[in-house]
């Protein structure tokens, strides 16, 4: 479980996040949704320590991240896997080397053990046959799969996914969503997905946090989402034509 308490962040004079408090539950796909520029990525980056908040706490199983020393932070970071929007695979390394990278840096496994572990992760995301290719030789969907494989290589307790569906076609998006959900259940991770893909939210969201103008505007489950009476949230959810049709059909 990850708990955020009273987190505020500003860049210069611009206030990005104001007094955000939320709980992200273990074994569930927790989603942070909101418009572009609402502060959801900044919230995730504050949670993993890429941005330092001015105020507030981030607690990993009651361990306060910003009260830790460097070594303690390094230890907790080994429990975190992250899938980036652009996958962030290392261009000069092959798929196999990318997945092996965190193992090389932090595990004490032999080379063959690391290769076995990397292969099992690649097999888990159904991309084992591409292990000798470089990231530039893969499609966007394949890169996301490799990103997931690298993120789970160290058996993380916490999995962060920053817009995992961006740039993907609807079918591939569904596959990636399903994969994230399966991995969350299988490894009992606390998964946090930052997204504005409403299909993904409706399909996989179990604990949804809506960020609006840098504040936590709403929190609830996927079922509650479609029947809420929050004006700003409804404007966000039903901005697309498809979602408006769903809303009409739900009313009927």
């Amino acid at each position: 479980m990850i708990e955020v308490k009273g987190l505020s962040k500003r860049f210069g004079t611009v206030q990005i996040l104001t007094d955000i408090s939320a709980v992200f539950e273990t074994g569930k796909v927790n989603q942070i949704i909101g418009k572009s520029g609402s502060g959801k990525s900044v919230l995730a980056k504050c949670m993993v320590g890429l941005h330092v908040p001015e105020q507030g706490k981030v607690l990993y199983e009651n361990r306060s991240f910003y009260d830790m020393d460097r070594d303690q932070k390094t230890e907790i970071r080994q429990e975190i896997g992250m899938l980036f929007q652009g996958s962030a695979l290392f261009d000069s390394l092959t798929v196999l080397q990318n997945v092996m990278f965190p193992l090389q840096m932090f595990s004490h496994k032999s080379k063959s053990e690391m290769e076995d572990r990397a292969h099992s992760c690649l097999k888990r995301v159904n991309i084992l046959d591409k292990d000798r290719l470089f990231p530039a030789e893969l499609s966007g969907g394949m890169q996301k799969r490799v990103g997931i494989a690298r993120a789970i290589a160290m058996n993380p307790k916490y999995l962060f996914c920053d817009e995992p569906n961006s740039g993907l076609d609807p079918q591939t998006s569904i596959l990636i969503d399903e994969l994230i959900k399966e991995i969350t259940e299988e490894f009992k991770t606390t998964t946090i997905v930052i997204t504005h893909d409403m299909n993904s939210v409706v399909e996989t969201g179990e604990n949804i946090i809506f960020i609006h103008k840098g504040q936590k505007w709403w929190q609830g489950t996927g079922d509650e989402l479609l029947n809420n009476d929050n004006k700003e949230l409804n404007e966000f959810i039903f901005a697309g034509g498809l979602m408006r049709r769903i809303k009409r059909s739900l009313k009927n």
Partner: protein
């Protein structure tokens, strides 16, 4: 951010860079790769430049001191002194700031804008140390080697040009390059080279590491890396000459 802010951030980055490596073996392997990329792959341009630089120094020296009062071997002497004291350490450093510096800034800058540095940080890897330290070590180890090659080829280039065009005899040239040789000048040149290597690697890495934006900004960082490295090299060159030779 003002210049004081940049200097502070530069030293903060150096502190991060020289923190304890997570896995020494991985760092060593990366250092060997960087030695190949930054050092071995620069031999061609250094050799070409040095040979012709020496040839031009010899011809220009001869044409400018063509007087019966000056002995012929002075041409070889001047070529050697110019090469060892200034041309090889400084000009090669400026050339390497262009070739190696832009490469370092572009590579690290691209990694920054593609979130690869964020990925390293989240894994718990000290990204500054992992990316920059091997480049510093490789540059400080390989650049003296490149400068030694440059010194030899520049003096050899002077010999080929001088004797080939007939403006100086082989005997006079060889006498010139041996006359009044002070071994400390080689030490001085190598000290400068090591300092310049550190400047190239760290200033360029700084520009790349703090790139914000996209591909256009990577290009701007790359250009800044070359310009600022050159400026700092020229200032350091003056300071070191004053300190080591005067």
């Amino acid at each position: 951010m003002g210049i004081i802010g940049h200097i502070g951030q530069y030293f903060h980055l150096l502190k991060e860079t020289f923190s304890r490596p997570e896995r020494f073996r991985v760092y060593w392997s990366r250092t060997l790769e960087e030695m190949d990329l930054l050092g071995i792959k620069s031999i061609g341009i250094v050799a070409l430049l040095s040979f012709f630089m020496g040839a031009v120094i010899t011809i220009q020296t001869k044409t400018n001191i063509d007087s019966p009062l000056i002995q012929a071997w002075v041409v070889g002497f001047a070529t050697r002194q110019s090469t060892i004291l200034e041309f090889s350490p400084t000009i090669i450093a400026l050339i390497l700031a262009g070739k190696v510096g832009s490469n370092i800034a572009a590579e690290i800058g691209s990694m920054r804008v593609k979130e690869q540095i964020d990925a390293l940080d989240i894994m718990g890897v000290n990204s500054a140390g992992f990316l920059i330290l091997p480049k510093i070590v490789a540059s400080m180890f390989m650049n003296p080697f490149l400068v030694m090659v440059s010194m030899f080829l520049s003096i050899f280039g002077g010999y080929v040009a001088g004797t080939g065009t007939g403006i100086i005899s082989a005997t006079d040239y060889l006498q010139g390059i041996q006359t009044g040789f002070i071994p400390y000048h080689i030490t001085y040149a190598l000290i400068k080279t090591v300092v310049f290597a550190f400047i190239i690697a760290t200033v360029s890495a700084y520009q790349g590491y703090y790139t914000i934006g996209g591909t256009r900004e990577v290009g701007i960082s790359s250009t800044k890396a070359v310009v600022y490295s050159n400026v700092v090299i020229l200032i350091a060159n003056y300071a070191l000459t004053q300190f080591l030779l005067v």
